[in-house]
């Protein structure tokens, strides 16, 4: 027994020694390649050694992806000579998988991240490379196609840690409505929230097999909870989420006064009315009874079982527009939004919702930036954003496109190339949605938040944030979707979470004050 133990121990020591050496030599190797490509790169006309970039993207891999990659690689072969290894991570696993990739130091060159995912935390944990130098050296085109505001407002801790992706300065929010049902009951186009609810009630009364309302009940999508979603379309008062605890409304900003409001200190009557109304809707059977258990709301809507769905962006998501009529013959959908097209009405901090970052562990940082720069050319952008012309899409003028019926290239430019200059709008959108996009692409139409450019560093209250998040996740979705009794649920949430949230609020206010006094 003793002898086997000795053998085991000696092997163990050996293994440790080997492991230690190998990790060390890896580090040296990577810095060496960095230097090498760095010195080679400036002569951009020269042919570079082929490099394969591993890029992490959200969603599903489009069927035509390989054709697009082949075309892109052909175009890049003579200049930056990049080969693409695109890894698609399903939305539902995105947060956990990307986090594990970063934490385990997986060799990734470009990765999708977002403030609604875990951007601040990943930056605080030191996973991402600051991009100022790389942008200045290799990213001139990537800079020109984006406005200065876009870079200024999307700094984290005063540095550009990721390339902001966006075609507009405001995130759209939309109620997707079954147009065929609305017309069936002779209801005119929906113009207000009250009319929307009236439509839902009509559906409840007349359609046995259709549930009027569905929205995400998952803690990962708190912004889409039915009651909380109303904050995007209510402007008196306009209640904005804080920067500290994701999409939760419990800490919020209003009046653009640089103050953090805490609903535990004082419940805002408007927010409370949303909660109570959601409860009425749930009890009345208007909100889907299994809302907390449904993981993929899109597919439930696509199956035709639901009449109204709350979604992000303006316009009907293409996935719904194309698959619903296949499942339910004769079904039609339309986009309804109550966000006004009125100058100086909506506040924004110009924060973008999507980013591409270069992880610290990447061995090809220069080439990754060169690739991002390459995507900022019109013809390359069109290829990556819309696929192969004539097969996947058809250009409509300079700023719109039409998806061809046989296209097998799903829409995801927001995940890696999006910018306001080169973006084309879907010509299939209704005119109102297109108007919304164009309106919000102009920064002057929106009120600039006092906190533009501010980002919260959660490090000093890390324990409180994790403790509070775990508590809030227990109650938030059932509260704002009306699944449980409002007063009872609120009191439980308050009793358990108030202490931790107070500390987060104080820290957030402190950082905001420092930011404003700068």
């Amino acid at each position: 027994m003793k002898k086997t133990l000795a053998v085991g121990l000696s092997v163990l020591l050996l293994m440790l020694a080997v492991l230690g050496c190998s990790s060390k030599s890896n580090n040296n190797g990577s810095s060496a390649t960095n230097d090498a490509s760095g010195s080679k790169a400036p002569a951009s006309g020269d042919k570079l050694d082929p490099v394969t970039l591993k890029i992490i993207l959200p969603g599903d891999r489009p069927a035509d992806m390989d054709q697009v990659i082949a075309e892109a690689e052909k175009r890049m072969a003579d200049t930056i000579n990049v080969k693409l290894n695109l890894v698609f991570v399903p939305w539902s696993d995105l947060a956990s998988k990307t986090q594990v990739m970063l934490a385990s130091g997986e060799d990734v060159d470009l990765i999708f991240d977002a403030p609604w995912l875990h951007m601040e935390q990943m930056i605080a944990a030191g996973y991402y490379e600051p991009l100022e130098d790389l942008l200045a050296q290799y990213g001139q085109d990537a800079v020109t196609v984006r406005s200065q505001q876009m870079f200024d407002a999307n700094k984290f801790q005063d540095k550009i840690y990721a390339l902001p992706l966006g075609n507009s300065h405001l995130d759209g929010r939309t109620y997707v409505v079954r147009k065929d049902l609305r017309e069936k009951y002779g209801i005119p186009p929906i113009k207000s929230y009250e009319e929307l609810i009236a439509f839902a009630k009509k559906v409840k009364e007349n359609e046995k097999s259709i549930i009027p309302i569905l929205t995400s009940g998952q803690p990962g999508a708190k912004d889409q909870s039915w009651g909380a979603f109303r904050s995007f379309m209510t402007f008196d008062p306009e209640i904005l989420r804080s920067d500290a605890i994701g999409q939760s409304l419990i800490l919020n900003y209003k009046n653009n006064d640089g103050k953090v409001y805490n609903l535990f200190d004082q419940m805002d009557p408007t927010v409370w009315s949303w909660i109570e109304e959601a409860r009425e809707l749930y009890k009345g059977g208007l909100i889907h009874p299994d809302i907390l258990a449904i993981k993929d709301v899109m597919s439930v809507f696509e199956s035709g079982d639901v009449a109204v769905l709350a979604t992000n962006s303006f316009g009907v998501p293409q996935q719904i527009a194309s698959s619903l009529p296949k499942n339910v013959p004769g079904a039609e959908v339309e986009a309804v939004t109550f966000i006004p097209l009125e100058k100086g009405k909506v506040t924004t901090n110009f924060k973008q919702a999507n980013f591409q970052a270069i992880p610290k562990v990447s061995k090809n940082k220069e080439r990754a930036m060169m690739f991002l720069n390459w995507t900022a050319k019109k013809e390359n952008y069109d290829l990556l954003a819309y696929g192969i012309e004539g097969q996947d899409y058809e250009a409509v003028g300079d700023d719109q496109y039409k998806t061809l019926p046989d296209s097998k290239y799903g829409y995801f430019p927001y995940a890696w190339v999006w910018n306001p200059t080169l973006d084309r709008l879907n010509a299939g959108f209704d005119p109102e949605s297109i108007e919304h996009y164009k309106f919000n692409a102009n920064a002057d139409n929106l009120i600039a938040s006092k906190l533009t450019g501010f980002s919260f560093n959660p490090e000093p209250v890390a324990n409180e944030v994790s403790l509070y998040s775990a508590i809030e996740d227990k109650y938030y979705s059932s509260l704002f979707n009306g699944v449980t009794d409002p007063t009872d649920t609120w009191n439980k949430l308050k009793a358990e979470g108030e202490g931790y949230l107070k500390k987060i609020q104080v820290e957030l206010q402190k950082q905001i004050d420092e930011f404003l006094n700068k």
Binding site: G8, M15, A293, V465, S466, S469, Y476
Partner: protein
């Protein structure tokens, strides 16, 4: 005889053991050093050794929360149910299968109950939803057909430990029954022969021969299960329950709680701290239960 002589003498035997040793070292002993992360403020950029040592700081977030004993209880309770019912029903299945005399039917029955083992949790979760959802779930339709009220299963936290146990047994009982069946097959036929000569019935043969002879297998499987009693099966629980907050009171286990708390912050050190807590609790329970097992039967302990 020196160490080297021993090796030289039995070099082929040691060579045979080498892959096993290597496996254990790489996958069981080297990772132990990872527990160090639990005491450090781990940052990828600084590496394991470069990161700051922070003592028990990382344990605070878990033990400061009001829920830590509740999720610990949930984990042990759900796993206890799995263990008792999983092994119990597997044992019954093995006994029944052993009594089947028609060879083809026995094979078919075996394969049939073994099959769920290969179905992934994601698919199981969809099947569970198809059974239990409120709008057109099979269970609620049946209830309605008999004129009963629909039940919103996905809001009823109390029944979920039972539902999860049923799912677990359905998925794993076949797998464990094969192990028991193998043990039963190993019992010498002479015992049964002499029992039959003495006039023992089939039932008496099971109670007095089969059960005592496979007791050690049952105890080993039980002890192995007890060692993992503080590890919630994340793939299963998160796959089926997901983020359904209405079911947290009874189904929130240590693993899902930690996942949720750290989803926002994604802190490597804090999750390591929780894993260390689970490991230590697991170690304590397995030592205690091993002692108990040895008290009852001297030879059946694991160590």
């Amino acid at each position: 005889m020196s160490f080297l002589q021993e090796i030289r003498k039995n070099k082929y035997l040691y060579l045979l053991a080498l892959p096993g040793f290597a496996f254990l070292i790489v996958f069981a002993y080297v990772p132990l050093s990872g527990h160090l992360i639990a005491f450090k403020k781990y940052r990828l950029a600084d590496g394991l050794w470069g990161s700051k040592f922070v003592g028990f700081d990382n344990f605070k977030f878990f033990f400061m929360s009001a829920d830590w004993y509740k999720v610990t209880f949930n984990t042990a309770f759900i796993n206890g149910l799995f263990l008792v019912f999983g092994l119990g029903i597997a044992l019954l299945l093995a006994l029944f299968l052993n009594e089947i005399r028609h060879a083809l039917f026995k094979r078919l029955a075996q394969s049939f109950i073994f099959m769920p083992y290969f179905i992934s949790w994601l698919v199981v979760s969809m099947m569970a939803f198809a059974f239990l959802n409120t709008t057109d779930g099979i269970v609620n339709r049946t209830l309605e057909a008999y004129g009963m009220e629909k039940i919103n299963w996905y809001l009823k936290a109390d029944v979920w430990p039972a539902i999860l146990t049923v799912i677990y047994v359905w998925k794993f009982a076949g797998y464990y029954s094969i192990i028991f069946l193998a043990a039963i097959t190993g019992i010498s036929g002479e015992y049964y022969e002499s029992a039959r000569i003495d006039g023992a019935t089939r039932f008496q043969q099971i109670v007095h021969i089969t059960l005592p002879l496979i007791r050690s297998v049952a105890i080993v499987l039980g002890l192995l299960g007890v060692g993992r009693i503080f590890y919630g099966d994340f793939g299963m629980i998160y796959g089926i329950i997901g983020d359904n907050s209405a079911l947290y009171p009874t189904t929130d286990v240590i693993d899902t709680y930690t996942y949720r708390a750290l989803r926002v912050l994604s802190d490597f050190s804090k999750s390591s701290a929780v894993i260390l807590y689970q490991s230590i609790m697991g170690l304590i329970t397995i030592v205690v239960f091993n002692q108990i097992a040895k008290k009852i039967d001297k030879d059946s302990g694991l160590f």
